[in-house]
């Protein structure tokens, strides 16, 4: 197994970090798991493909546009659907997001067909060689986007007024409400941000690899694995855990061959979940930032 495979695995793993970070943020603040998180990633990819066909922009220029659209959609979904369902307890949101996942997968299949699709980029096939290691630009971009969004999420939570509001609502929704924080709006913003993290990962995934309509399920498990390793709400740890997962996947492909690698990742995930349900770095309580 060469160093190239390992490093490319780590770089692409930063995208797992992003989508897992979204899941983890939502779990930490809203105390809800979005079982359609993987399908949001796939949705971001398809949205970018559609916009690319219409506008012909570079994927990196499409990224902010996709982010705005997904943010608006996510905000509305949480505000007008999920916030109401949250009041029914912890069971109902799981079933509802499971239903949404089914709807999204079927819609993708109807609209885009069952074959995998990818997003062309001028820089998509280029690569640089550093110290004998061939690094594809798409993977480097994945890492750059991952690191930038991680820093932005972390900085927002830690240093801005919005971040303090989110942390207050996460720590104690009741008290936050008494202090005049609109908790429902905070939840909607959090869900929207979580969706944007996934969708951004989706756009880059479509450039670096490809997406299929039914790819959401395994991506959900990957992002859940990231959260399980990093601990709920821990943003930098989620990024690190994503890269760890990417490395693990790359190593298992190289050692076991593709096919067996899926099994290896799921079994490893299962073991981590059972041994350390609160995460390898985490405590039982959700911590933000």
């Amino acid at each position: 197994m060469s160093l190239t495979i390992l490093i490319n695995g780590i770089l692409i793993g930063s995208l797992y970090g992003l989508v897992g970070m979204g899941l983890s943020l939502l779990a930490g603040v809203v105390r809800m798991i979005n079982l359609a998180q993987g399908d949001v990633l796939v949705g971001g990819a398809y949205l970018a493909i559609v916009l690319h066909n219409r506008l012909g922009w570079d994927p990196l220029a499409l990224l902010p546009l996709v982010a705005v659209i997904i943010f608006a959609a996510g905000y509305l979904v949480q505000r007008f659907l999920l916030n109401d369902i949250l009041r029914a307890g912890s069971f109902a949101p799981l079933v509802v997001t499971f239903g949404l996942s089914l709807v999204l997968e079927s819609v993708y299949q109807e609209v885009f067909g069952a074959n995998s699709q990818s997003l062309p980029a001028a820089w998509g096939d280029s690569a640089v060689t550093v110290a004998g290691v061939r690094l594809e630009s798409a993977y480097l971009v994945a890492f750059a986007v991952g690191a930038a969004l991680t820093a932005a999420t972390w900085g927002t939570l830690r240093y801005t007024r919005l971040g303090r509001t989110v942390r207050a609502a996460a720590a104690d929704p009741g008290t936050a409400r008494l202090l005049g924080i609109n908790v429902e709006r905070v939840f909607a913003v959090t869900f929207a941000a979580s969706a944007v993290l996934a969708a951004a990962a989706g756009v880059i995934t479509a450039v670096a690899q490809s997406v299929t309509p039914t790819g959401g399920l395994s991506l959900l498990l990957f992002s859940f694995a990231v959260m399980a390793v990093a601990g709920m709400g821990n943003v930098p740890a989620a990024f690190a855990a994503g890269m760890l997962l990417g490395a693990f996947q790359a190593v298992s492909v190289a050692v076991l061959g593709s096919g067996a690698e899926t099994l290896a990742v799921y079994v490893a995930f299962f073991v981590v979940l059972v041994i350390r349900p609160s995460g390898l770095f985490g405590t039982r309580e959700a911590r933000l930032t």
Binding site: A27, M32, I33, L35, L81, D84, I85, A88, S90, F91, A92, L94, V95, V96, F98, G99, L100, S101, L102, V103, L104, E105, S106, V107, Q109, E110, L217, S218, L220, L221, F224, A228, G259, A260, T262, L263, Y266, V267, F269, F270, L273, V274, P277
Partner: protein, 338 residues
Amino acid sequence: MSVRSGILLGVVLVAGVAAAGPLSAANQYTGVTILTAMIIALAWNIVAGYSGQLSLGVAAFVGLGGYACGLLMAHAGFGWVTAVIAATGLSAVFAFLLGLPLLRLRGAYFAVGTLAAAVALQAGAQLWTWAGGGSGFTLPIDGLPSSVSLLRASVVGFALALAAVLYVQQSAFGLRVVAVRDDERAATGAGISCLGHRLAAFVISGALTGLAGALVALQTLTVSPAGSFSMSWTIDATLYVVAGGIATIVGPLIGVVLVYVVLTQELQSLGAVSAIIEGGLLVVILRFAPAGLWPAVVRGWRLARGGRLARLVDARPGPGVSAKVGEMLASRATKEPR
């Protein structure tokens, strides 16, 4: 279990077994499909409804039951009856081994853990070349049951599942399972083993789902990773129970009839659109009628009957409109002599 439940089970068994004979082969096939779906729905309801743990691992047990039954018949020379019984037992053992670590997890962690187990088993079956790998294998043709026998076996399986749910609904054991669901801390305080009761519910449910999986394998004559471990088993179980009424006995059965007869049969030609409707239905039901269809029907019936029951229903805090309707119906019912 009460005498009434015993009589009910006896009637279901005798009537089901007797009615199986005269049916046409096509109807016998449909009967097996509906009954196995009902077994799966009743089983899922034990874990999700009464024990309050969302299991997304239904496909794991359907697949396991099917593979166990098929492999035992093909390679160990088991007859189909013993193979089905052994598959049920193996599913119970598997549920115990899987539940032991997973049931320490709560809510979403348990849900995703069961999902991961199902996907891992599917990936494992794909790699298992001895069991046919990705394309699966066909059951040995000489040991198969006739369609009447298979339908009768399904009736017996259905009666077993019904007995399990009646037991959970009526026994002290079931009361403890529900207590663990509703308030873990209070249940622990009352000396109830939370893990033990969750595990018992999970094992009963897993065994019944494995039984249904074995019957499905005997019906479709093949097992494969894509079919036996398909996510659609999990999706369907969830939809049946949520649509019909979670944590009720009749709800899941109504859910099967409704979803199978109305959706699956009528919308089969529409392909992916039917999946969109199924998923959308889950969302809509939980948004507007989270208790499901059957509790709504019961409530309407009680209101229509009027009298003390209607006032009882009316007294419960609920949405304004239906409370007003209840008030109206109750006052009319008490004024008008019957």
